[in-house]
Amino acid sequence: MSARAFDAVVVGAGVGGLTAACYLARSGRKVLLAEARNRLGGRCESIALGEGFTAPLGAHELHALDPRVARELKLARHGLKFVVRGMALAGLGHGGRHALIVRDVRDTVRNIASLSRADADAWPAFHAELFALARALRPRWWEARPPKPLARRHQEVFEALRHVSAAAWLDSRFESDVLKATLAFDATVAGYSPYEPGSALLLVWRAAQEMCGLQGVSAWPMGGPAALAAALADAAKAQGVEIRTGAAVEHVLMQDEAAAGVALASGESIAAPLVFSSLSRRATLGRLAPAGACGFETLAALAHEPVTGEARIVLALKSLPPFNGMAVPATARFVLAERLESQAAAWSAAHAGRLPDELTLEFVIPTAAEASLAPHGQHVASVLVRPVPAAMSAAMKTQLTARVTAALDAQMSGLAGSVASAETFTPAELAARYGHPGNAVDIHSNWNQRIMTTIPGLYLCGAEPVPAPSGRAGRIAAALALGGGK
């Protein structure tokens, strides 16, 4: 063991790790943050895409940042500034029939009316129910303490939604294919199909989030999600966290069956009674902890590799052709999903190792919010395709790029011709950068179950209920660990 002992070591400088490090340091602990890569921020990353283009990779908008993290760590003072606070959600349909969902309920009703009168009528009630339930469920997802019992009317809906699929829920409210498929896209995180029982609750989770004081929206910070990581890193440094990049943690050191520090790939050992891992539960217990230390049964339960994943494509565009049909703001978050059924088919195809016939994807145009991300008059588009097979061949990758470009061209005539460069990242390539997304959706557990491991002293500071840059797990992990030491 080295002479320099720390109170806590945080493994991985993603949003979870940075946040945990900040909170630990704030409570006077001596913290080492060890990051394997040479940059901080994990999935909040921007890459250069040819001359003068900057595109987000990993996360391409923020929708789950814990407002308390932003406030308590004074992230605004550390440079976090939002350019677009409430991004509209635009479902793009064939022939210009779009579902444009904005924050204002009446505007949304007006927008949907062209798709379906009945859906327009149903929207205010659905929106009110979704947001009210989401607010009621917030403590369950936001607080470290076990939540207080829900009000009876919410409890009933909550119990029902635990077993209801997003598709069934949306089918019971709406008739427009584009609207349903657009809303259901948010229920397809982490390998979920919108037809999977319980996926309805993923929509509620999303609606429970708050960005810039607004409920259930996506936001774009100046500089992209990478700016969040930069602000957190700045806050961590100000708190006195010792940050080491290029410091891959080889394994967690154990003493008397409890975590006692980490061993770096360089051979150096760092002693610390608390170890926080922002890696997935599977990577942490299966790879970082000594084999079997978490219990064989626990290990076996984590052994399943995800078979589907998401791919990312970033495009540099010489120009941005207008959308066909109805006008939509370019700062929106766009979803391309024609029908719920095609999402189910895509899920099956991806599980079978094939590229889906009908791709479901989400994209944003960062330059619409922040023109400086590309040379004057030019643009950047960032596309997230899911589901795709976790193992994609090189041929599939080429095919995916072409098909995504074609799909966007169908919505914005002429887009294909304006592509200056495109870069595609398969699930495996994203995993090589950010680690495997081993954290499945874990929306029913409480924070104790998500964050604690079977190894005393080892905490998971990236264990969000739904994978997304949030900082909540880091904040609560620090609180649990420090509270547990009293």
Binding site: D256, E257, G286, P290, A291, G292, A293, G295, F296, E297, T298, L299, A300, A301, A303, T454
Partner: protein
């Protein structure tokens, strides 16, 4: 698990079939074995007075080999295998994550990175999965037969057969026995020796031992006789007396409740399920005990009553010809384990006595009888 026929014959089946006069067979771990060759009581008595040969090829054996074998087995077993020298063995348990007993075994160290697990019950899926985390692929030992030589003349029989039987308890040795490669061990619960041989050599080994033991009155003993020795020796057996923990996070049966706590090393801290073991030591109220009857034996799992309320249950019971009385294993509350405690139980109705009868039983220390010393002769 590899595909295999529904029931298997052991390498000694031909000889067993010739001796099995009543055609009394039983299946254990997928193998067809003689339940008794003639009279189980006589066979058990022979094991105490002379020497018997029993087919133990049904025991599950697993070869664990590889650079991380020690690391894996250390994590798996309730004793530290790193302390073993090649040629030594230990007895230990493996527990589920919450401390339920998944199995009990003898672990023999064949070489620096080579071990063998011998157990009464298989746990392949679970152990294979656990071993995979260490990059190991244990292999079931299939092409090998085993015979137990039990009784006061066991050593004399081996000596007469030309085998050097100078082994400490738990010891083992590979021998070249007049053209046959065999392993001689002392891992069993019955105090004797075991001889392990290639399947093809099975009949030759059987014949040599039977010939060598002729002067000592050797006879073959079936499963029933060996089970009786188990009961007399105070050994509860999975499948017969209790169910092993097979659910993912089962905390029972605990080692304490099965009388197996001696197989857990208190100084060994790194094994799977240790937290559950520590907890069960404080909270487990049941203990393994013996009970003796004056009359008939009860049905298995008959509740044992004290002043009308159940405080445990009987497990396997049998008439022990060596003790000349009926005995049983039992699980009773810790408050009732003092030898001599009087309990009552209900006997099953018989043809002549249709009404239920209650009988008085006494709690006794385990083991009822020590296993026969193989060297006394």
């Amino acid at each position: 698990m590899s595909e295999r026929p529904f029931v298997l014959a052991t390498p000694f089946h031909v000889r067993a079939a010739a001796l099995n006069r009543d055609n009394a067979w039983a299946v254990r771990n997928g193998f067809t074995l003689s339940a008794a060759y003639d009279d189980a009581g006589d066979e058990a008595l022979a094991a105490r007075q002379r020497v018997v040969l029993a087919d133990i090829s049904w025991r599950w054996r697993l070869a664990v080999e590889g650079g991380r074998a020690v690391e894996f087995l250390s994590r798996l077993l309730t004793r530290d295998p790193a302390k073993l020298e090649p040629g030594q063995a230990l007895k230990a348990l493996w527990l589920g994550d919450k401390g339920g007993v998944r199995g009990a075994c003898a672990l023999a160290r064949y070489g620096r990175e080579s071990f063998r697990v011998v157990s009464a019950a298989e746990d392949e899926t679970w152990i294979f999965r656990a071993a995979a985390a260490f990059g190991l692929a244990p292999a079931p030992v299939a092409d090998e037969g085993g015979l137990a030589i039990v009784g006061p003349y066991a050593r004399a029989t081996l000596a007469a057969a030309g085998l050097d039987a100078d082994l400490e308890p738990l010891g083992f040795r590979k021998l070249f026995w007049r053209g046959l490669d065999v392993t001689l061990s002392r891992w069993g619960e019955h105090g004797g020796y075991e001889i392990w041989c290639q399947s093809d050599d099975g009949l030759a080994v059987w014949d040599r031992l039977m010939r060598a033991g002729g002067d000592f009155g050797i006879q073959a003993a079936g499963l029933a006789a060996m089970d009786l020795l188990d009961i007399e020796g105070g050994v509860a057996r999975p499948g017969r007396d209790y169910l092993l923990a097979r659910e993912a996070f089962a905390a029972s049966p605990s080692p304490v409740a099965l009388g197996l706590e001696r197989l857990v090393d208190d100084g060994w801290k790194g094994f799977n399920g240790r937290e559950g073991w520590l907890r069960s030591r404080l909270t487990e109220k049941r203990r393994l005990a013996g009970i003796v009857f004056e009359g008939e034996t009860p049905a298995p799992f008959t509740p044992l009553l004290r002043e009308g309320s159940a405080i445990g249950h009987a497990l396997s019971s049998a008439y022990s010809p060596a003790m000349r009385r009926a005995v049983a294993l039992a699980q009773v509350d810790i408050s009732a384990i003092a030898p001599g405690t009087v309990l009552s139980l209900t006997l099953p109705p018989g043809r002549d006595l249709p009404e239920l009868r209650t009988a008085q039983v006494r709690v006794a220390d385990l083991p009822f009888l020590k296993p026969p010393d193989p060297i006394a002769g």
